[in-house]
Symmetry: C2
Subunit: 349 residues, 2 copies
DNA sequence: CGTTATTATGGGAGCGCTCCCAAAACCACT
DNA sequence: AGTGGTTTTGGGAGCGCTCCCATAATAACG
């Protein structure tokens, strides 16, 4: 790389054509003679030319960059291998669409700063937000500023918001039904916080399964957790007073805590209490007994988010997607992963 | 936000001054009368002005953006809560220095594409690379193209490369010494792959501890793993033939595999075989028995990487850091986390 | 071989900013 | 009031590109 990278004009001179022609060639536009096109490409390669992104986006008003906003709470809130996988999905899809990714991983107070620096300074064509809480303050702002965005985590109360989410309701229902199929009748649940969409949805799925089975909805069999191990432990201690024979736990980390609480009072899993978790976190597979859980398509969540976002951004006709159409939404299927904690397997290693 | 964001010139007109004066105000430059400065700020606020990043970096030749390159192998290679934590460290530090972050998480073939698109098109002022393998092909390229970079994971053979890493040698040595202190004498190790710096360094620390204790270095007590659970399982099966009374396992995931292998032949941990892992992954705390391990300052790794990178980039006098000084390096301390698998604790919960 | 339609090429303008230099305004002191 | 110095302000130039329009070259046709 030369100390100063070559410019369009320099390539043009070297190739004996004009700036405009070189521009046409590198942008794959028509109306260039094949031989000229080829000659220009040769010079471009030889001189190691690459268009300056700043100049390009200054005039085209597009940065070819998408923002990814990850709340600081990511560690506690998202199940363990979640972030790497969702990021891979996001990165692969962005790459495919020739977009770059700008990462924002900041706490609430700094979020404001990022909002101004990156979004308002027109560095970003759109954003993907890992949004777990119902009342994310960013959503109304983005809506107001007409910035295209997709949330990972659904926002049912914002009709204009586009989102992608796992089918938490269905996943929770499958998990609960699975416990019922094992003959369990006092099925309790440890929910996530009511401030989180996933928490509510998984609770909803649990209740739907009971309703369908014509079982009573006993409020005493519902304990609210906070998605942490300690929270699961405490919630389980409380539930044990009700003597449930099975518990659907809204995430694996809490299930680990529940396991600890159950074992502490001398009960056995799954013999006395069957357990199903959610997320298929890494710990689930290595827990003792290995945890039956619900797997979400994490990679696909990221992948789909970007695909929706690009549809929102890229012009359809002369209009941008978000001007022509309603919000885009996708709910991806979840899948039950049967291991030992639910009692469906008889002794496995 | 107006449909078309205001420009410098528009602010200038509204405030009754010139473009240059507004520029001085928003860049906090001297030589503006305080009353004018205040008036300009008012107009800026009122009109919701924010400087256009593309225009700025076009003329200043600085993007205020740093790249973060994460190899696709991140899932298997880096211990579980590693990525979120290192990213938080990176993000916080970048924020503090007013830099944006561009994320690249691509497989090898696409890495080339990213290299050209982002680095060559001058979108990036520098890059941080999560670099676990000794022979990372990106390093010589970055060196050649004189792009400022810092690797997370040391590269001992590249004298010009700047890096930050955990003190793997010392951590491994502490772990092994700890086992020796428990009275264990046949201490084996399961290493990481020899192609990875951390693998080699941890092996080196293990050997140093044995040497210091005047114990023989028995090659039969060294098994190479690949940092996966299955790899740890296989390696442990092999080691069991040598009847070790303790094993230092180079990461927690392999330690989980080792645990499984040990239990399978009816041996007990820590009574028959004591175990120490590395990384302090989430599974370590919840394993049965809880794993003694070595904690790395993951957040600080990210934080320090950015701080070094900024020192490399920002001008000292009129020269850029990487023109004036040698490479910058930092090795951060690791810490032994004592739990039950090493036999140092008598029964805990 | 003109005349018109079509394709290929060149160059001006301008995106929104920073940098630089010249001009204006203000400030001492003689 | 005059001189030299400093601080404050304004505007031109230009960063490297895309967009648009004018012109040149070529093709198509009577």
């Amino acid at each position: 790389m030369a100390h100063k990278p070559p410019t369009l004009e320099e390539i043009a001179k070297a190739a004996g054509v004009s700036r405009s022609t070189v521009s046409r060639v590198i942008n794959d536009e028509p109306n260039v003679r094949p031989e000229v096109r080829q000659r220009v490409w040769q010079v471009v390669e030889a001189m190691g030319y690459h268009p300056n992104a700043a100049a390009r986006s200054l005039v085209s008003r597009r940065s070819q960059t998408l923002g990814v906003i990850i709340p600081q709470t990511v560690n506690t809130v998202f199940a363990d291998p979640f972030l790497p996988n969702v990021l891979r999905g996001i990165a692969d899809a962005a790459n495919e669409h020739k977009y770059h990714l700008m990462l924002s991983m900041v706490s609430r107070p700094l979020e404001e700063d990022f909002y101004r620096r990156a979004l308002r300074s027109q560095m970003l064509d759109g954003v993907v937000i890992l949004s777990a809480f119902l009342d994310d303050p960013l959503i109304p702002r983005l809506l107001r500023d007409r910035i295209p965005f997709v949330t990972i985590g659904r926002h049912p109360h914002e009709p204009a918001a586009s989102y992608v989410d796992a089918d938490n309701v269905r996943g929770a229902r499958m998990a609960t039904e699975h416990l019922l199929r094992q003959g369990r009748r006092r099925v309790a649940t440890i929910t996530g916080p009511a401030s989180m969409i996933a928490g509510l949805d998984r609770r909803e799925g649990y209740q739907a399964a009971l309703r369908e089975a014509d079982l009573p909805l006993d409020e005493n069999l519902i304990a609210e957790g906070d998605f942490t191990e300690a929270g699961g432990y405490v919630a389980m201690q409380q539930l044990l007073l009700q003597e449930p024979d099975a518990v659907f736990v809204a995430n694996d980390l809490m299930a680990i805590g529940a396991l600890r609480a159950i074992r502490q009072v001398g009960r056995r899993v799954p013999d006395d209490v069957a357990l199903v978790g959610f997320d298929d976190a890494q710990i689930a597979a290595y827990a003792d007994p290995p945890l039956t859980t619900v797997r979400q398509p994490v990679y696909e969540l990221g992948d789909t988010a970007i695909n929706l976002l690009v549809r929102l951004i890229e012009p359809v006709g002369s209009l941008r997607g978000y001007e022509t159409q309603d919000s885009l939404r996708a709910i991806l299927p979840t899948e039950l992963v049967i291991r030992a904690s639910c009692g469906a397997q008889r002794r496995s290693a």
